[in-house]
C-alpha cells in the first residue's frame, strides 16, 4: 500500500535519490530543503515516514525530530535520521530526540527500501 514519505536534506541529489527510490516502490514522496522547511510543511499535514539529514542549515535533523515530537500529529510518526556520521554520541542524541532509526550514507537503494519496509511493518 502506498505511503507518504517526506525527505529532508539540503542536498538536492540526496533528496532526488530518495524520492526516486521510494517512488519506484510506489510511495508518494514530498521534499524539504532543511529542518525549518520540513517543520513548516508538517505543521498541518501528517505523513507516514520522515527521512531527515542531520546536518542542515537553519534547523538540523535532531532539532527537527525534537520539534516534530512536540506536535500531536507526529507523536508516533517514524523518523529516520540520515547522516554520514556513525558517532555513538550523535546517535544517542538522535534517540533522545525521538528518532526511530539511524541510516548512514552512502547506502544502497535496496537498503533504504528494506529499512522503510521494516519501519512500516512495525
Amino acid at each position: 500500500m502506498a505511503k507518504t514519505v517526506i525527505t529532508v536534506d539540503d542536498s538536492s541529489a540526496i533528496r532526488m535519490m530518495i524520492s526516486f527510490t521510494l517512488r519506484t516502490a510506489g510511495h508518494e514522496v514530498i521534499q524539504a530543503a532543511d529542518g525549518l522547511d520540513a517543520l513548516n510543511q508538517l505543521k498541518t499535514r501528517g505523513v507516514d515516514l520522515v527521512i531527515t539529514d542531520v546536518h542542515m542549515p537553519q534547523m538540523d535533523g535532531i532539532e527537527l525530530t525534537r520539534r516534530l515530537r512536540g506536535l500531536p500529529i507526529h507523536k508516533s510518526t517514524p523518523i529516520l535520521l540520515l547522516t554520514t556520521e556513525s558517532d555513538p554520541a550523535m546517535k544517542a542524541k538522535g534517540k533522545e530526540a525521538g528518532a526511530t532509526g539511524w541510516l548512514v550514507k552512502p547506502f544502497q537503494q535496496d537498503q533504504l527500501l528494506a529499512v522503510v519496509a521494516k519501519v512500516f511493518a512495525r
Binding site: 541529489a13 532526488m16 532509526g101 541510516l103 550514507k105 552512502p106 547506502f107 544502497q108
Partner: protein
C-alpha cells in the same frame, strides 16, 4: 684618540652586526611566515575553485539526471502502454475470435444448409427420375389399354351381326369399355398434367437450390479466409508481444541505470564534506602559520614539512572519491547509452512492426474480415430463409403427386376389376347365347385381355406404390429439412442482432486500439530520440569532472613533490637553522604542530556505509 676611534668602530661593527642579525632574523621569520601564508591561501583558493567546479558539475548532473529520470519514467510508462496496447490487440484478437466463435453457429448452419440443399437437390433429382418413370408408365398404360380398344371395336363389329337379344349386351359392354377408357384417359391426363406441373416446379426449385449452393460455397470459402487471417493475426500479435516485452525490459533497464546514477550522486554529499574539511584544514593552517610567523623559524620548518603532507593526503582522498564517482557515472552512463540505443532500435522495430500489424489489421484487411463476417451472417440468414421457403414450395408441389398417384393406382385397379367383370359377364352371356358364337370368342378374348391388363396393372400398381413410398420418404425428408431450416432461422434471428452488435463493437475497438498503438509508438520514438540527445551531455560532464580530477591530482602531486624538493627544503632548513637558536621553543612548537596536525589532517568521518540501526 685612536683607541676611541677603534672602540667606536668596534661598537659600530657590533651594532651593525646586531642590527644585521636582527634584520636577517626578522627577514627570515617574515619570509617563512609570508611564504607559508601565501602558499596556504593559494592552496585554499585552488581547492575552493575545485570544490566550486565539482559542485557546479554535480548540479548539472543532477539536472541532467532529473531530466533523464523524467524521460525514462515516460519511456517506461510509454512502453507499458505499448504492452498494454499489445495486450489490447490480443484482446481485440480475442474479441475477433469470439466473433468468429459466434459466427461458428451461423457458419455451421451454413454447412448444414449446404448439406440440406445437397439433399434437397438429390431429392429433386430422385423426384425427376420418378416423374420420368411415370411418363414411361403412361406409355405402358396406353400400350396396355390398346387391346381393350380393339376389344371395344370388335364388340361393335360383332354387335352389327348379333341377334337382337345379344345386341344390347354388345352395345352395353362396348359402351362400358368406352366409358372406362374415357374415364381412364381423363384421369391419366389430369394426373400427368399435375405431375408435369410438379416437374416444372421441381426443375425451377432445383435451379434455385443450385444457385443457393453456389452462394453457400462462397460463404464457406470466406470462412476459410477469415480463419487464415485470424491465424496470421495471432502470429503477428505474438511477435508484437515478444518485441514489446523486450522494449519494456530495455526501458526498465534504463530506469535501473538511472538509479545507479542517482546512487553515484550520493557521493556528492560526502565529497562536499571532505572538501569542506580540506578548506577548514587549510584555514587552520593559515592561522597556525600566522602564529608561527611571529615565533621561531624551526616551527615554520616543521609546519611547512607537515602541511603539504596533510594537504596531499586529504586531496588524494578527495581525488579517490571523485574518481569513484566518475567511474560509477561512466559505467552507468555507458549502460544507459547502450540501453537507450536498444530502446531506440526497439521502438523503431516496434514502429515498423506496429505499422505492419496495423496494415494487417487496419483498413482493408480488418474491415474486409469484419465485412465478410457481417455479409456471411446476412447471407446465411437469407440462404436459410430462402432454403426454408423453397423446401416448403417443393413439398407443396410434391404432396399432391402422392395423392394423384394413389388415385391413379386405385383407378387402374378399379378399371382392371371392371374389365374382369365385363369379361365374366361376356362369358355368361356367351354361354346363354351358345357355344361358338362370336360373343363367346370375344368373351374369351376379353377375359384374356382383362387378365393381361390385370397383370400389367398389378405390375404398374406395384411400381406406383414404390414411387409413392419413395416420394413419401422424400417428402418426409424435406419436411425434416424444412423444420431444421426453420429452427436455424429462429436461432439466427435470435443471434443475428447480438452478433452484429459485437462485430461492430469489435470494429470500433480495433480502430481505437490502432490509433492508441500508433500514438504510443510515436511517443516512444520521440522519447527515445530525446533520451539519446540527453545522453550527449554525458561526455561534456565527464570531461569537466575529468579535468577537475586531473587538477586535483596534479595539485596533490605538486604538494608531494614539495616534500621531496631537496634544494628548497635544504635551503629553507639552512636558512631557518642559521637564524634560530631557540631549540626549546622549536620543540615546543613542534609539539604544538603535532597537536594541531590531527585537526588539520582530520580524516573524513568514518563511514559505515549503509549501516542501519532502528532504535
Amino acid at each position: 684618540m685612536l683607541h676611541r676611534i677603534l672602540r667606536s668602530l668596534s661598537q659600530f661593527i657590533k651594532q651593525a652586526t646586531a642590527f644585521l642579525t636582527c634584520r636577517d632574523a626578522r627577514t627570515a621569520r617574515w619570509a617563512a611566515g609570508a611564504f607559508s601564508e601565501k602558499r596556504v591561501l593559494w592552496n585554499r583558493t585552488r581547492v575552493s575553485g575545485c570544490a566550486c567546479q565539482i559542485d557546479k558539475c554535480f548540479l548539472r548532473i543532477s539536472a541532467a539526471l532529473e531530466g533523464l529520470a523524467g524521460r525514462s519514467s515516460t519511456l517506461v510508462a510509454g512502453s507499458r502502454r505499448l504492452l498494454h496496447a499489445s495486450q489490447g490487440r490480443d484482446g481485440d484478437a480475442s474479441v475477433f475470435q469470439a466473433a468468429i466463435d459466434v459466427m461458428e453457429r451461423p457458419l455451421s448452419f451454413n454447412d448444414e444448409c449446404v448439406e440440406i440443399t445437397a439433399r434437397v437437390e438429390a431429392d429433386l433429382e430422385s423426384v425427376a427420375v420418378r416423374i420420368g418413370r411415370l411418363h414411361r408408365f403412361q406409355a405402358k398404360l396406353d400400350a396396355s389399354l390398346a387391346p381393350l380398344r380393339i376389344l371395344e371395336i370388335m364388340f361393335r363389329i360383332e354387335s352389327a351381326s348379333a341377334p337382337p337379344g345379344i345386341l344390347a349386351l354388345f352395345v352395353s359392354l362396348s359402351s362400358e369399355i368406352a366409358r372406362l377408357m374415357e374415364q381412364m384417359a381423363t384421369l391419366i391426363a389430369r394426373e400427368f398434367e399435375a405431375i408435369e406441373n410438379t416437374a416444372v416446379t421441381v426443375g425451377e426449385v432445383a435451379a434455385r437450390v443450385r444457385r443457393l449452393h453456389a452462394r453457400q460455397s462462397g460463404a464457406q470459402r470466406r470462412r476459410g479466409e477469415i480463419q487464415s487471417s485470424m491465424a496470421a493475426l495471432g502470429a503477428q500479435i505474438e511477435e508484437d508481444q515478444v518485441r514489446d516485452q523486450r522494449l519494456i525490459g530495455a526501458t526498465e533497464s534504463i530506469q535501473g541505470k538511472i538509479s545507479g546514477l542517482v546512487g553515484a550522486l550520493q557521493y556528492q554529499d560526502i565529497l562536499n564534506q571532505r572538501l569542506q574539511h580540506v578548506i577548514e584544514g587549510l584555514a587552520e593552517m593559515a592561522k597556525q602559520s600566522r602564529a608561527l610567523s611571529s615565533g621561531a623559524s624551526g616551527d615554520v620548518l616543521c609546519f611547512m614539512r607537515d602541511a603539504p603532507r596533510v594537504e596531499a593526503a586529504q586531496l588524494e582522498d578527495v581525488g579517490d572519491t571523485l574518481g569513484d564517482i566518475m567511474e560509477r557515472l561512466r559505467v552507468s552512463l555507458d549502460g544507459l547509452a547502450e540501453e537507450a540505443r536498444g530502446v531506440g532500435a526497439g521502438s523503431a522495430a516496434a514502429g515498423s512492426a506496429a505499422a505492419g500489424s496495423a496494415a494487417a489489421m487496419d483498413g482493408r484487411a480488418a474491415d474486409r474480415m469484419v465485412r465478410v463476417l457481417l455479409d456471411t451472417l446476412q447471407e446465411n440468414t437469407e440462404l436459410i430463409e430462402s432454403t426454408s421457403t423453397q423446401t416448403g414450395e417443393i413439398r407443396a408441389a410434391l404432396e399432391p403427386i402422392g395423392g394423384l398417384l394413389g388415385n391413379l393406382t386405385g383407378s387402374i385397379l378399379g378399371l382392371s376389376a371392371r374389365i374382369r367383370l365385363i369379361s365374366l359377364n361376356a362369358q355368361i352371356q356367351a354361354a346363354q347365347a351358345g357355344e361358338g358364337t362370336g360373343l363367346e370368342i370375344l368373351a374369351c378374348r376379353a377375359r384374356t385381355i382383362a387378365e393381361e391388363i390385370v397383370a400389367q396393372v398389378a405390375e404398374l400398381a406395384a411400381e406406383l406404390e414404390g414411387l409413392k413410398h419413395a416420394l413419401g420418404a422424400d417428402l418426409e425428408q424435406m419436411e425434416a429439412t424444412q423444420m431444421r431450416s426453420a429452427e436455424f432461422l429462429r436461432l439466427l434471428r435470435e443471434d443475428g442482432g447480438q452478433q452484429d452488435a459485437r462485430l461492430r463493437h469489435f470494429q470500433d475497438q480495433m480502430q481505437k486500439e490502432r490509433q492508441s498503438v500508433a500514438e504510443h509508438i510515436e511517443q516512444i520514438q520521440a522519447e527515445s530520440t530525446s533520451l539519446s540527445a540527453s545522453l550527449s551531455v554525458r561526455s561534456t560532464l565527464l570531461d569537466i569532472l575529468g579535468a577537475t580530477r586531473t587538477g586535483l591530482q596534479q595539485f596533490s602531486v605538486a604538494l608531494s613533490a614539495r616534500l621531496t624538493h631537496r634544494n628548497t627544503s635544504t635551503r629553507v632548513e639552512d636558512f631557518a637553522r642559521s637564524y634560530t637558536a631557540a631549540s626549546e621553543r622549536a620543540a615546543h612548537h613542534r609539539a604544538l604542530t603535532a597537536e594541531s596536525a590531527p585537526m588539520m589532517a582530520q580524516p573524513a568521518p568514518a563511514l559505515a556505509e549503509g549501516s542501519i540501526e532502528l532504535f
